[in-house]
């Protein structure tokens, strides 16, 4: 059984064998970005046998770009300059939409964001619009400070206006 001690099972512990693998390094980050459509949109069909298959695999060298670095155990490791602009671009997009500085560097906060519990549906799918809300807005502004991409206007009537 899953271990618990409380009457209401609120302290239920997951079995160690059934823990999801976390994103910890460049390779797992690359897989994450590919899986959820950040590198390129994913074809998401439940009946397709290709869907869950092989993600494009890059060697470490391919993932490195001049100026890019990886973070392990709180330190940043400067890398040898080679090309993986798609990966860096995907990483930047992910960082931007998650309210992180869009550095293109796989730092601890980016890894933490990738390891948050989430839905399994890809964020970007073939044939579907991107995951940026554009309703009630003329512009979608990407803020350099790294704040989340949001609609520029908020017409939510719940935020303040009241009728007499």
């Amino acid at each position: 059984e899953k271990l618990f001690h409380s009457r209401d099972h609120s302290d239920l512990q997951p079995s160690p064998q059934h823990q999801a693998e976390l994103v910890t390094d460049l390779q797992s980050a690359q897989q994450f970005l590919s899986k959820y459509g950040w590198t390129e949109p994913v074809k998401w069909e439940g009946t397709s046998s290709k869907n869950a298959a092989e993600l494009p695999r890059y060697g470490d060298a391919d993932l490195m770009q001049e100026g890019a670095s990886i973070s392990r155990y709180g330190q940043e490791f400067p890398l040898e300059p080679t090309q993986a602009p798609a990966f860096v671009e995907a990483l930047r997009k992910f960082q931007t939409l998650n309210g992180l500085p869009a550095t293109g560097k796989l730092d601890d906060s980016t890894i933490a964001a990738m390891n948050k519990p989430r839905c399994g549906v890809p964020d970007n799918q073939i044939g579907k619009e991107s995951a940026i809300v554009k309703s009630n807005s003329n512009n979608v502004t990407e803020k350099a400070s790294g704040k989340s991409l949001n609609t520029t206007t908020n017409q939510n009537p719940e935020n303040g206006t009241s009728t007499s």
Binding site: A20, E21, G46, A113, V121, A131, V133, S135, N136
Partner: protein, 429 residues
């Protein structure tokens, strides 16, 4: 089965909408049916919650969407699987014949397919809405149903369609963004109403002063909504059955509500067919007898001499203290002080409430007449549209407007948003 499902999916009419950012248009698919059937499949029960709890959570999740869009959902336990639109199930790792394995505890907690099924990772600690710990199954289910209906992830604070799970706060509800996103695919809710009224009630404030408050109610068939004017939406969890909230009056098909409010009289009445009831707000039920000992319901012809029945609708005008009863193309003004029909009535509706713009008029068979304290105006409802009656204030600003004229018609759903039906099976949760 796969071919049949794809064929049904092809029937889903794609909806084109303007991408307001880029001024282009995008084809997006959506269910074209108005009623979707769902089922928690037997081989996919969670090991963590009772079956009844799981079904209740999913029923609630579907209902939350139904409350903001013109689509109904029904749990179907008997039809062949091929007729079930959305199948839900729990699984671990390789599960339910799915091509996407779950990853164990943490990370992914569920996935779903557009116009398809929903799978939940049973390695996650899902909990019922009443629990403070674990992952709220309700919140996850609402999110995944959003995918089934055609929504993608939305990076907007407060949206249920954010990709990451955010622990449930107390009273989690669909965000305004989510409402609008789903309505971009399915449109807004529209429909006629039987009666619309503001219910006045009194209470004492912190200083002991008597203050008057009001709530706005929309009635349709056997259910009703409370409309929160300040928030431009209905109360969460509505509609509610009439019989649950209003005791002693007919359970459905109310024709009219009238609040007679003068210096000497304060009485509320419900009308249906040839009868009417007076409502006792203090005891929250209809009166059994009137002051003279006559039992309710009473005949309209007895309480309001020379008023025909059944009526279409009615309202009380505090300006002249007449009840205006509408029937077909005519209106009867009833003088409550003299308890009789006013002189020169009945008249044609179009003569008493003339069109401001020629031919833009309901002409007759009004569904509901409503005096709104929020707007200090009278509204006439017919079908999906309403006409605002010219008020004294309107005439002060534009003296050329005819007295009690009717402005151009508009859609009810533009003024009072998201008043949506739910499936009858969801009226009792």
């Amino acid at each position: 089965k796969i071919r049949k499902k794809r064929f049904l999916q092809m029937l889903a009419a794609p909806v084109r909408y303007k991408d307001q950012a880029n001024q282009g248009s995008t084809v997006r698919g959506a269910f074209s049916k108005k009623l979707l059937k769902w089922r928690l499949i037997g081989e996919g029960y969670s090991s963590q919650l009772s079956i009844d709890e799981q079904r209740y959570v999913f029923k609630t999740a579907f209902r939350m969407w139904s409350e903001v869009m013109p689509l109904d959902f029904e749990e179907d336990l008997t039809s062949p699987m091929s007729l079930i639109d959305v199948k839900l199930g729990f699984g671990r790792g390789r599960h339910l014949g799915c091509t996407r394995s779950f990853d164990g505890s943490g990370q992914e907690f569920a996935h779903a397919w557009f116009l398809g099924d929903i799978h939940f990772d049973d390695d996650e600690h899902f909990t019922a809405p009443s629990s403070d710990s674990g992952i709220s199954l309700l919140k996850v289910a609402v999110h995944e149903i959003g995918h089934v209906l055609g929504l993608s992830h939305i990076y907007q604070t407060g949206s249920i369609m954010q990709p990451n799970y955010i622990p449930q706060e107390a009273g989690f509800e669909l965000d305004w963004t989510d409402r609008k996103a789903i309505q971009m695919l399915y449109g807004t809710c529209e429909g006629s109403f039987d009666a619309v009224f503001d219910w006045i009630w009194k209470e004492r404030n912190q200083y002991g002063e008597l203050v008057l408050r009001y709530n706005t109610y929309f009635f349709r068939n056997a259910w009703y909504w409370l409309y929160e004017n300040r928030k431009n939406r209905t109360r969460y969890g509505d509609p509610v059955t009439v019989s649950l909230g209003w005791h002693g009056i007919p359970a459905e098909g109310i024709d009219a509500f009238v609040h007679v409010w003068t210096w000497t009289e304060d009485a509320t009445y419900f009308f249906k067919g040839t009868q009417y009831w007076r409502y006792d707000s203090e005891n929250d039920q209809a009166y059994i007898k009137d002051a003279q000992g006559n039992q309710y319901p009473r005949l309209i012809s007895e309480g309001f001499p020379k008023i025909p029945s059944p009526i279409n609708t009615a309202f009380f005008d505090r300006r002249d203290q007449f009840i205006y009863f509408f029937k077909d193309a005519h209106v009867y003004a009833f003088d409550v002080k003299r308890n009789m029909v006013a002189n020169h009535y009945p008249k044609r509706i179009i003569d008493v409430f003339p069109a401001v713009v020629r031919n833009n008029h309901p002409f007759g068979n009004i569904d509901a007449a409503y005096y709104a304290y929020t707007h200090n105006s009278i509204f006439l409802f017919k079908g999906k549209e309403y006409w605002k009656v010219v008020s004294d204030k309107d005439r002060q600003q534009n003296p050329k407007l005819p007295r009690n004229g009717l402005f151009l018609k508009k859609n009810i759903s533009e003024q009072w948003t998201d008043i949506c039906n739910v499936h009858s099976s969801m009226l009792k949760m």
